[in-house]
């Protein structure tokens, strides 16, 4: 009988272990490594301890300077700057869309079966992403002078990499079957893209664009710190003049915009998919 065979095996030998000894050792050394890394980085950021102990007091002080908020400042300056921020974000997103579409098609190896072109497109997309929006803005302020144009181009340049990468990946995941059927009907590459690939990636595309627009509204609200227009410019001026009650109004505006944007975008994304 089966039960006899089971009891024949001594119970002691059936110890179950989640990790082998080697695994235990490697896990322990990994934890040690993380601990050492944390200690090393703490020692290298050179904390000024006097300032750190002082911080709660300073925070309270800043809070008291922010209160009461200078609400009349909103219609006077902030509103126009907010609109400018929206324009920078929206135009920048649209420009990035125009630039990202061809790059995404070149980067998707199922549409462009050419390793050289894939590499070229992917390099462009990585280059766009490797530079932060603020750095792009610094560059374009130097080129176009301070103002919203520099901000718009900076937003566009940073977004191309994001949109192009995600869209290219979406294109690569389009089922091969439907494309094969269009090919078998004698459709040109252009028709295959418009009739086969585009319907398949359309929800992903709009979802990516909405997400990027959302990010761009937040990013363009700080671009003004380097002179590229929008809310950040107003904030920079207020900080330089120690007008903390005005800084508070701007921070509150950014917060409100992000929350409202989140609600609106969630609504549209649900409708689209």
């Amino acid at each position: 009988m089966v039960s006899h065979e089971l009891t024949a095996t001594p119970l002691m030998s059936r110890v179950w272990q989640r990790h082998t000894l080697a695994q235990k050792l490697s896990r322990l050394s990994l934890w040690l490594l993380i601990g050492v890394a944390v200690l090393l980085s703490l020692s290298s950021i050179s904390v000024i301890w006097e300032f750190l102990w002082d911080a709660p007091e300073q925070m309270a002080d800043m809070g008291s300077r922010m209160w009461p908020l200078d609400f009349p400042y909103y219609p006077a300056t902030v509103h126009a700057a907010l609109l400018e921020t929206f324009h920078i974000a929206t135009l920048g997103t649209l420009f990035s869309m125009v630039l990202a579409l061809p790059l995404a098609i070149l980067a998707a190896h199922n549409i462009t079966p050419h390793a050289g072109l894939n590499l070229f497109a992917k390099t462009m997309l990585v280059a766009s992403r490797s530079v932060n929006s603020l750095v792009w803005a610094l560059l374009f302020v130097a080129v176009f002078g301070p103002g919203p144009l520099a901000g718009t181009v900076a937003i566009a340049c940073r977004s191309v990499g994001f949109v192009g990468k995600l869209l290219g990946e979406a294109l690569e995941e389009v089922p091969r079957g439907s494309i094969e059927a269009l090919k078998a009907a004698g459709a040109t590459q252009g028709s295959q893209i418009l009739y086969g690939y585009w319907p398949a990636v359309k929800p992903a595309f709009w979802s990516i664009m909405l997400l990027r627009w959302d990010i761009n509204v937040r990013e363009s609200s700080v671009l003004g710190l380097v002179g590229a227009g929008g809310l950040g410019m107003a904030m920079n001026a207020a900080i330089d003049l120690f007008q903390w009650d005005r800084v508070a109004v701007i921070l509150l505006t950014i917060f409100a915009v992000v929350v409202i944007g989140e609600v609106v975008i969630t609504y549209f994304r649900r409708k689209l998919i």
Partner: protein
């Protein structure tokens, strides 16, 4: 009857030294449904896909209406493909487009991408599409999205899309393998009747021997990349089936 499609000495190897097709010689007349049977991996699919060049051939020639299509490419290849309709096992519809748009996909070879994008199809094509919807019994589904259809309905749309091309030859790569027995019979009936009505040869590649015997005018049996039986369904015996599929236990 004249020969529409003539395949001579066709070979194919996806990996060097591992041939999938080892010299196929087949001629197809201008009428009739030919069933190609054989176990999985014998190169049935490869053979059908080579005919419209979804797969590139190795050696040999494939002459379609007097034109060797084994080495053409680019525009010439696209123009050839327009004349050959194809039906797939997994239907291969564009899921997020409507049934009507999927049918019109069959005309993409005749339209510039821009016109296709703007849905500027000739009135003639749209009427043809409505006629075909009547034929396949989906007249009320024109504006429904393809992903809302059942398997059998999808396959009928797939057949209608191929017929939209007004093809001179209809290929079907395991059109019934994903369907239930009843729907399979309906699909085979549709393929057979449409082949006869449009006076075009139909090549169907399939697993189901009984279905093949019931609908085919001619059966081609393949094993190991070679044709081992070619003739009328009535002449297909158990001995042939043993040769095609190997073993005999399954025949009982």
């Amino acid at each position: 009857m004249s020969v529409v499609l003539s395949i001579q000495g066709l070979t194919k190897a996806y990996k060097p030294g591992v041939p999938v097709l080892k010299g196929i010689d087949l001629d197809f007349d201008e009428r009739g449904l030919t069933a190609i049977i054989g176990s999985s991996g014998t190169g049935k699919s490869t053979l059908v896909r080579i005919i419209n060049r979804l797969v590139d051939p190795g050696d040999g020639t494939i002459v379609f209406k007097g034109e060797d299509l084994s080495r053409i490419h680019g525009r010439q290849l696209r123009e050839l493909r327009r004349r050959i309709g194809m039906v797939f096992q997994e239907y291969n519809l564009v899921e997020r487009l409507s049934v009507m748009e999927n049918l019109l996909c069959g005309r993409l070879g005749y339209l510039s991408p821009l016109k296709a994008w703007l849905r500027r199809f000739p009135q003639e094509d749209i009427e043809h599409a409505y006629q075909l919807l009547d034929v396949i019994g989906l007249s009320n589904f024109a504006n429904q999205r393809a992903d809302s259809l059942s398997g059998g309905q999808r396959q009928r749309v797939g057949i209608a899309r191929a017929l939209m091309q007004r093809p001179e030859l209809l290929l079907a790569d395991e059109p019934t393998s994903s369907l239930d027995p009843k729907t399979s019979v309906e699909i085979m009936e549709l393929l057979k009747s449409q082949g006869e009505d449009n006076k075009i040869p139909v090549l169907v590649n399939m697993h189901d021997v009984e279905l093949a015997k019931r609908f085919a005018d001619r059966i081609v049996g393949m094993t190991g990349g070679r044709v081992v039986f070619d003739g009328l369904p009535s002449r297909l015996t158990d001995d042939h089936l043993k040769l095609i599929y190997g073993g005999e236990g399954w025949l009982q």
